[in-house]
């Protein structure tokens, strides 16, 4: 025994398998983990390494270099082994030279299953998102049909999109309720008739804190602020030659409104911490679901900026105003989810269609998509019936009635703070975690909203 017992014990405790190899790469000594990790059953002493570890086939030259002292270490990271339950175990396998004459090579197998499974999940998510984004990009190929519908307002938009797509430096403002497809239209304008290889850069002004937003947009030089350890180009530079899409522009803080205006006027800007003027060539598309005119009246949005942004105005109609388009779009989603869920739903029943047509769709196409997705999950046959369709919101009249109900205090009384906290939770949920949006749902300023979040430790 070359490996002392205490090392042996320590290795076992730490999920390490090891073996010593002789001059012809036979195993001379190993611990139990070694055979366990390699899925072997009995003692493997005297066996050739390549007989029991297929990963070693092809490594002859590397191992020879180790014998010849030309190399002292060699690692195969994250080697996979399928376990009986089809789960994967992961091991790092490392070869070391020992400078012992009879056992010149030492192999360690280190079990890294736990952390690697976590890494696997993260990587998988990242790749899946990239694949999905790629697909929506691909869908741009079938353009301009991807803006579905035949109603007058939709046809008009398709024409506009076709038209402005041809103009490289156009400045376009999209307005429409949330869920009406502003981001899709921006992409269609960017792509024109074919998939564009020029950059399309999108940023949601409401999703990023003010301090970061400026650096994101304009970029910065090393040392421009405390954490600026390196220089970084901003989104304006990244979009050069292509399109910059500023979503929820109504949430752009006033200070940045000034900077953006100056950029639009001169088509040049400086990175934070830099004196160098940079010029870029971009198509600028901005969008908002808020009433900017109202904001201008309240001095929350600069009028001069708005006129610069609003050179071409495209107004996206709410779904409830597009009539039969609702059915066309719903059918399209059915086709899409048939593929995703491997189902074969052929149609909507007459009642189901009527139900969709009667609803007021506050969440627009996005909501329609969710409703159809849910219906598809529950639909059992080849038809979606009205029972399969669950609508989330009450009609405006019914909604008032419920507020009355909420505000009726039960006989046992109720804690005011509990209601407040519940409202914060619900608003955040409705706004998908976007605090500015959630604040607006409760008619609160961003600060007032944040104050309450902190008070109740909601975040």
């Amino acid at each position: 025994m070359i490996i002392p017992k205490f090392v042996n014990t320590a290795f076992s405790d730490h999920l390490i398998g090891y073996a010593l190899l002789d001059n012809v790469f036979r195993i001379t000594e190993h611990n139990r983990n070694f055979i366990k990790f390699l899925n072997l059953h009995d003692n493997v002493r005297e066996k050739q390494l390549v007989e029991i570890m297929p990963e070693a086939i092809g490594l002859e030259q590397i191992l020879q270099e180790m014998l010849d002292n030309e190399r002292s270490i060699f690692t195969l990271p994250q080697v996979n082994r399928f376990l009986k339950d089809q789960q994967i175990a992961y091991y790092n396998i490392t070869f070391y030279t020992t400078s012992l004459t009879d056992t010149p090579v030492f192999v360690i197998i280190y079990d890294i299953t736990e952390e690697t499974r976590l890494k696997q999940q993260l990587t998988q998510q990242k790749y899946e998102i990239e694949l999905l984004e790629g697909q929506s990009f691909l869908q741009g190929r079938t353009l301009p049909n991807s803006l579905l519908g035949n109603s007058e307002p939709i046809r008009k938009i398709r024409d506009m999109v076709q038209h402005v797509a041809q103009i490289p430096k156009a400045t376009i403002f999209l307005n429409g309720e949330s869920g009406t497809g502003k981001s899709l239209v921006a992409r269609l304008i960017h792509n024109g008739n074919a998939i564009s290889t020029r950059p399309f850069v999108e940023i949601n002004c409401a999703a990023i804190p003010e301090t970061l937003l400026e650096a994101e947009l304009f970029g910065y030089e090393k040392g421009a602020f405390t954490n600026a350890f390196t220089s970084k180009p901003g989104l304006l530079e990244e979009a050069d030659g292509g399109t910059l899409f500023l979503d929820e522009i109504g949430d752009l803080p006033l200070k940045l409104q000034v900077k953006l205006l100056s950029f639009i006027e001169s088509r040049s800007f400086r990175r934070l911490g830099s004196t160098k003027e940079l010029q870029v060539n971009i198509k600028l598309i901005s969008a908002s679901n808020r009433n900017i005119i109202e904001m201008i009246k309240k001095n929350e949005f600069r009028e001069d900026l708005f006129y610069r942004l609003n050179v071409v105005n495209i107004n996206l109609p709410p779904l409830r105003d597009t009539g039969q388009d609702i059915i066309t779009i719903a059918r399209n989603f059915i086709g899409m989810f048939n593929i995703d869920f491997k189902k074969n739903v052929q149609k909507l029943s007459a009642n189901a269609e009527q139900k969709l047509l009667n609803y007021h769709w506050p969440g627009n196409v996005r909501e329609l998509r969710n409703v159809i997705e849910r219906a598809m999950i529950f639909a059992s046959g080849s038809e979606i019936t009205s029972q399969d369709i669950h609508l989330y919101h009450l009609s405006p009249n019914e909604e008032n009635a419920t507020i009355e109900k909420i505000l009726n205090i039960p006989p046992e009384g109720i804690a005011f703070e509990e209601i407040e906290r519940k409202l914060l939770d619900s608003a955040l949920e409705m706004a998908n975690g976007n605090q500015s949006k959630a604040a607006r749902l409760l008619h609160l300023s961003r600060d007032a909203f944040r104050y309450r979040l902190e008070k109740y430790h909601v975040i």
Binding site: I57, Q78, I88, L131, L138
Partner: protein, 176 residues
């Protein structure tokens, strides 16, 4: 008399191009729509049918097929996977143009470590190919540039999968 020879080959390519799926189709004749991205490397074996060499010997390869994670060129240790390979199948996804753009860099890393190895290119997911896309064209150009052969494959339908591995086997055999 048949001579049996172990040969290591690698499958390389961007994530989700279908490396794992091609191997599973070839080795076990199965296909799964579900994507489970590979981390690290998974080695499978497959005994190929006997092949005749130019000097009338019969050889039979036992392929050790290294299924390597979607390439991360910053990972230095990843290159350790290549050591001792006789060949590589480089896989692109016919539905994703960008999966062909990484092939050049990938091959140059691989060839630095295995200059003698033989290369075959695969344009996978042929079943999803939309008429008139230019990706096969890109594959053709790459193949010409690298003086490598290529095949359009589908791990889903099995089209050209056996042929892909056999093509590489023949090239390795011709160099014996």
């Amino acid at each position: 008399m048949t001579i049996q020879i172990n040969r290591k080959i690698c499958l390389l390519g961007m994530y989700a191009t279908g490396k794992t799926s091609l191997i599973r189709r070839y080795v076990h004749n199965i296909f799964d729509e579900k994507y489970l991205s590979t981390i690290g490397v998974n080695v499978s074996q497959k005994l190929l049918p006997p092949l005749e060499t130019s000097n009338n010997k019969i050889v039979q390869f036992n392929f050790l097929i290294w299924d390597i994670e979607g390439i991360d060129r910053n990972n230095k240790l990843q290159k350790n996977y290549y050591a001792g390979s006789s060949g590589a199948i480089v896989v692109g996804d016919l539905t994703r143009k960008e999966s062909f753009e990484v092939i050049n860099g990938l091959l140059s890393d691989f060839s630095t470590i295995c200059p003698e190895a033989l290369i075959v290119l695969a344009g996978n997911k042929k079943d999803l190919l939309i008429e008139n896309t230019d990706h096969p064209q890109r594959l053709k150009e790459l193949a010409a540039q690298k003086k490598a052969d290529y095949l359009l494959t589908s791990a889903k339908t099995g089209e050209n999968v056996d042929e892909l591995f056999l093509l590489l086997a023949h090239k390795i055999k011709d160099k014996l």
